[in-house]
């Protein structure tokens, strides 16, 4: 038995030239939420990040309180990884129910690793390589009696590490970092479990993940994190130091991060009695001169609609995050959906324009947060960031941001205001004067949700209401003038332009790759600026025969998804249609491919699909 953690010469077999080499692999761990499969997935993702590989994960959260069946899927490798993989190359099944529910996710030729203490696979199933490992008993044996099956997940990590020849020093380092804070025994037990898994004799299960190209000299190291963390740290980088919220899944982890981090930065995060109090407290912070954040998921957003209208009327900056989940009502709290777009734009009474942005991947959660902060401050407006459950919980690796360049330091502007200061001028952008600023005119301003004149006095003047309404609208229109031009990926003109927003970015891009491979001229445009839209879309649209919006929401009463509805309203272009679904899951590449292929009347709607597992390619026994 070779243990990677026992001192001694490195295992010579490791770099053996006859080990089949694969560019990337999809591993699905299926167990119960209590089994720590997320931790294993997390280790693999972090390892990929530290190895300059790309990685994307996908997990399900049991919808029952006491936990239950759950999966964690990780796709890692050296290519460009844009989705977590439609189907798996390796399935690790902890229980019979895991096996039964997820066997079908395994590609032909893939490897089924099952816990032989719990699972009896179908003996007639010959399309995959089934390998039984006594995961439970081997873990108990390795770690010792008291801790029971705890550590089974780390045992599996060891198995996988051996199977894909992973970087052991990096992995053990990660294990130590993770459990280091706890007592010594825990680290030791974890390493024991890991070694035991690593030592399991399954010699013919050996692959080599292709090494990533070495990073360009001076390239930034990769970081690995999930979307909610990236968003929270983006807000910190954007200079947000104050916030208030109420817990709700999947929003809560952002508020928990901010509550923990902000005091270090001299800031405050308040847990309020409800979402209305939360947005109100956040607006109070903003009024005090410190751009603040509030956030929630669907139901909580509905509660913020009245106060959001006030922010537009009083022209107060604010960041509002919505981590979308399955709706309507309480809906499906632990599933993905993109069905709050229309509400984000139109959910408040009256004409209450505001900015809406949507990040396209985990990395973008970070950057869009900074962009939101800039816009909110510059235009003194509420900005809504529409993320979603999939982005929130997915782990990706990306280049560490250049913080010295990116970080915004923002202090309240308490400088004395000129005597000519008007809180609500008709002819220019104005940021409010926070309390503490001396007014040169001797007249102190009132911010208000009533219609008002330029000095903030309430008015019912028809002419002023008309002008102020136009002013508020034109201000939000002007936000688009600052956007960088939208980028089209793929063909610049042709049969179809696929449009997405939010977490569909990666799968659409992979689908576009396959479609182009199938010979159609297809482009992709991901809309990060939902409201106002980027300039110039009309000209881009004109270059394609079909404009197909791919979104995760319902087709609505008239047959179009929410972004498609918006685009049709703006451009009245009948070429704009949509592909929608509401199954609570992210798009598989093949779903997009198939449905676009149907619309384009391609003969083969499975073109380019990996029908066999990559692990099967070098034909083996």
């Amino acid at each position: 038995m070779v243990s990677p953690n026992t001192p001694g010469p490195q295992d010579a077999a490791r770099s053996s030239a006859d080990t089949p080499s694969v560019p990337d692999v999809v591993i699905r761990l299926a167990g119960n939420s209590q089994d720590g499969i997320q931790a294993v997935g997390g280790f693999l993702a972090r390892l990929a990040g530290r190895s300059d590989q790309e990685v994307m994960t996908y997990m399900t959260i049991p919808s029952t309180i006491s936990g239950g069946p759950s999966i964690f899927q990780v796709r890692m490798g050296s290519g460009e990884i844009l989705s977590s993989g439609d189907r798996a190359d390796v399935l690790v099944a902890f229980y019979q129910h895991s096996y039964e529910s997820h066997r079908s996710s395994l590609r032909p030729g893939g490897v089924l690793l099952y816990d032989s203490d719990h699972v009896k696979p179908d003996p007639d199933d010959k399309t995959v390589t089934a390998v039984g490992v006594p995961m439970t008993s081997a873990t108990v044996e390795a770690v010792g009696g008291s801790s029971k099956e705890k550590g089974k997940n780390i045992y599996v990590l060891g198995l996988i590490a051996r199977m894909f020849d992973l970087d052991i020093p990096k992995l053990t380092q990660l294990i130590k970092e993770r459990f280091g804070g706890k007592n010594e025994d825990i680290v030791r037990n974890a390493l024991l479990a890991f070694d035991a898994g690593y030592a399991y004799p399954a010699e013919n299960l050996r692959y080599r993940l292709e090494k990533a190209a070495p990073p360009a000299p001076g390239a930034r190291p990769q970081v690995t994190t999930d979307g909610n963390s990236a968003l929270a740290y983006g807000l910190l980088a954007g200079g947000v130091r104050y916030g208030a919220a109420y817990p709700i899944t999947p929003w809560s982890s952002i508020m928990e991060t901010l509550r923990t981090e902000l005091p270090k930065y001299g800031g405050i995060f308040v847990q309020c009695e409800d979402e209305i109090a939360a947005i109100s407290t956040a607006l109070g912070f903003s009024y005090g001169g410190n751009l603040a954040i509030t956030g929630s998921s669907g139901p909580g957003l509905s509660l913020k609609m009245e106060a959001l209208g006030w922010a537009t009327m009083a022209e107060m900056p604010l960041i509002v995050v919505n981590i979308q989940r399955g709706g309507p009502s309480t809906g499906m709290p632990t599933n993905i959906e993109q069905s709050d777009l229309m509400q984000a734009i139109y959910g408040s009474h009256g004409d209450a324009p505001r900015v809406v942005l949507a990040p396209q991947d985990v990395e973008d959660c970070f950057y869009i947060a900074i962009e939101a902060c800039r816009i909110a401050r510059q235009f003194s407006t509420p900005v809504i960031i529409l993320s979603d459950q999939a982005l929130a919980t997915r782990i990706e690796a990306f280049a560490e941001p250049d913080l010295p360049k990116l970080m915004i330091e923002a202090k309240p502007d308490l400088s004395p205001r000129e005597a000519t200061f008007k809180p609500y001028p008709l002819d220019q952008l104005q940021r409010h004067a926070p309390p503490g600023s001396v007014m040169g005119s001797g007249k102190y301003p009132t911010v208000t949700g009533l219609e008002h004149d330029e000095l903030g006095h309430p008015t019912a003047s028809p002419a002023l209401h008309m002008k102020m309404t136009a002013k508020r609208r034109d201000k939000i229109k002007a936000v688009a003038d600052n956007y960088t031009a939208p980028e089209v990926f793929g063909d610049e003109a042709g049969d179809a332009l696929l449009i997405g927003w939010g977490c569909t970015y990666g799968p659409i891009r992979e689908a576009v790759g396959r479609l182009r491979g199938a010979g159609v001229k297809v482009g992709q445009l991901q809309i990060r600026h939902v409201h106002p839209l980027d300039h110039g879309l009309e000209q881009i649209f004109a270059r394609y025969k079909k404009i197909i919006v791919v979104e995760i929401n319902d087709e609505g009463l008239y047959g179009y998804g929410q972004l498609a509805t918006l685009l049709r309203a703006r451009y009245a272009n009948p070429a704009i249609t949509s592909i929608t679904k509401t199954d609570g899951l992210t798009y598989k590449v093949s779903e997009i491919f198939e449905r676009v292929a149907q619309q384009l009347e391609l003969a083969d709607t499975t073109f380019g699909m990996r029908k066999q597992s990559i692990l099967a390619m070098p034909a083996r026994g």
Binding site: G49, P221, Q222, V223, T224, S229, Y233, L236, A237, Y242, E261, P263, K264, Y265, G266, G267, I268, V270, C272, E273, I276, A277, A278, S280, T281, A282, L283, G284, F285, S286, Y287, G288, G289, N290, A292, W310, A314, E400, L403, P404, M407, P412, A433, P434, P435, G436, S437, V438, M439, G442, K443, Y444, P445, T446, V447, T448, G449, L450, H457, P458
Partner: protein
């Protein structure tokens, strides 16, 4: 009276805050409305406090009484109905150098805003809240409010109100507000005294002022107006001088005694019902947390902090 967190220096001598400087738009209230007297008293309070004008904030929700900020020449605003307290908590917590005053009505504060009152109170942010209670919805023209007495005839209770009204003093005492007082818009000196004490209290201080709506609930508070045959009884506070009279005086730190006092029959007494100087403000607690945390991180700069966080994600 000593409030260590009120760090703002007084203005240069020779430039005291005057009523003139504090006066803004002419009030749009009906002639005779009780709120005028509250406004006049508030001017006096600010003159006495003499804070730098730019450090004073006057905020409100929606209602006749909530128009207050338009009539006071300080920074301020007019928020949405019932939500001014969490807004003001944001102002206070984010800007510990300011003096935050919130005004509102009984509907704004006890009906739609009732939960915010309770939760703001238990957080104890440093600010002063003045409720102008006219026991009716004024701005929307005479509907029952949560303090309308049983039997009050309004547009929504044409046969007289049915629902048991809330007892503001009891509610406030129970909520955790650390300073709770009650006054009457016909008693200017008393109002000034109460608001002044409230402003000087280091925590969440509330003064409820009975302020008549002459348009929709005339005579509502005559029961406490001597010249209308009512009884004006103020609360005598314990002096702790060991005198025999002192036994009968009210101990404002005693919650149960305050609750009992608040349960007396209408019109009850006026003055300070409850005061708790021991409970730290949320402002102080959060500042302490910041100080402790920053000590642990050795006052690292924001860039250093965030860079370390990203380094841990490598």
């Amino acid at each position: 009276m000593s409030t260590p967190t009120l760090a703002t220096p007084p203005p240069a001598p020779g430039a005291p805050l005057t009523k003139k400087a504090l006066t803004a738009d002419h009030p749009t209230w009906c002639p005779g409305c009780g709120d005028f007297a509250v406004l006049a008293s508030f001017y006096k309070v600010l003159e006495k406090l003499n804070y730098p004008q730019e450090k004073i904030v006057t905020f409100a929700g929606i209602g006749c009484s909530s128009r207050f900020p338009y009539f006071v020449n300080t920074h301020g605003g007019h928020y949405i109905h019932g939500r001014s307290l969490p807004f003001a908590a944001g102002i206070s917590l984010g800007r510990d150098d300011l003096h935050v005053f919130v005004f509102g009505g009984d509907g704004d504060g006890f009906s739609i805003g009732g939960n915010h009152l309770v939760h703001t109170a238990r957080k104890n942010p440093r600010m002063t809240y003045v409720i102008m209670d006219n026991s009716v919805y004024g701005l929307t023209k005479k509907q029952t409010s949560p303090t309308s007495p049983i039997g009050f005839k309004s547009k929504t209770d044409p046969w007289g109100a049915y629902d048991q009204p809330i007892n503001p003093m009891r509610t406030l005492i129970n909520s955790g507000a650390t300073f709770v007082a009650r006054s009457h818009a016909t008693q200017v000196n008393h109002m000034v005294d109460m608001m002044l004490r409230a402003a000087n209290h280091d925590g969440f201080s509330v003064v409820e002022i009975l302020s008549e709506c002459v348009e929709f609930f005339e005579g509502a508070f005559d029961g406490a107006v001597p010249r209308k045959g009512g009884a004006w009884q103020t609360i005598e506070l314990k002096k702790n001088d060991g005198s025999p009279e002192d036994a009968a005086r009210h101990d404002p730190t005693d919650e149960v005694a305050a609750f009992k006092l608040a349960s007396e029959p209408w019109p009850g007494k006026f003055g300070v019902f409850y005061e708790n100087k021991a409970r730290p403000t949320k402002n102080a607690l959060e500042q302490k947390l910041i100080a402790n945390t920053r000590e642990k991180t050795k006052n690292a700069s924001d860039l250093e902090l965030l860079s370390k966080t990203f380094a841990r994600m490598r």
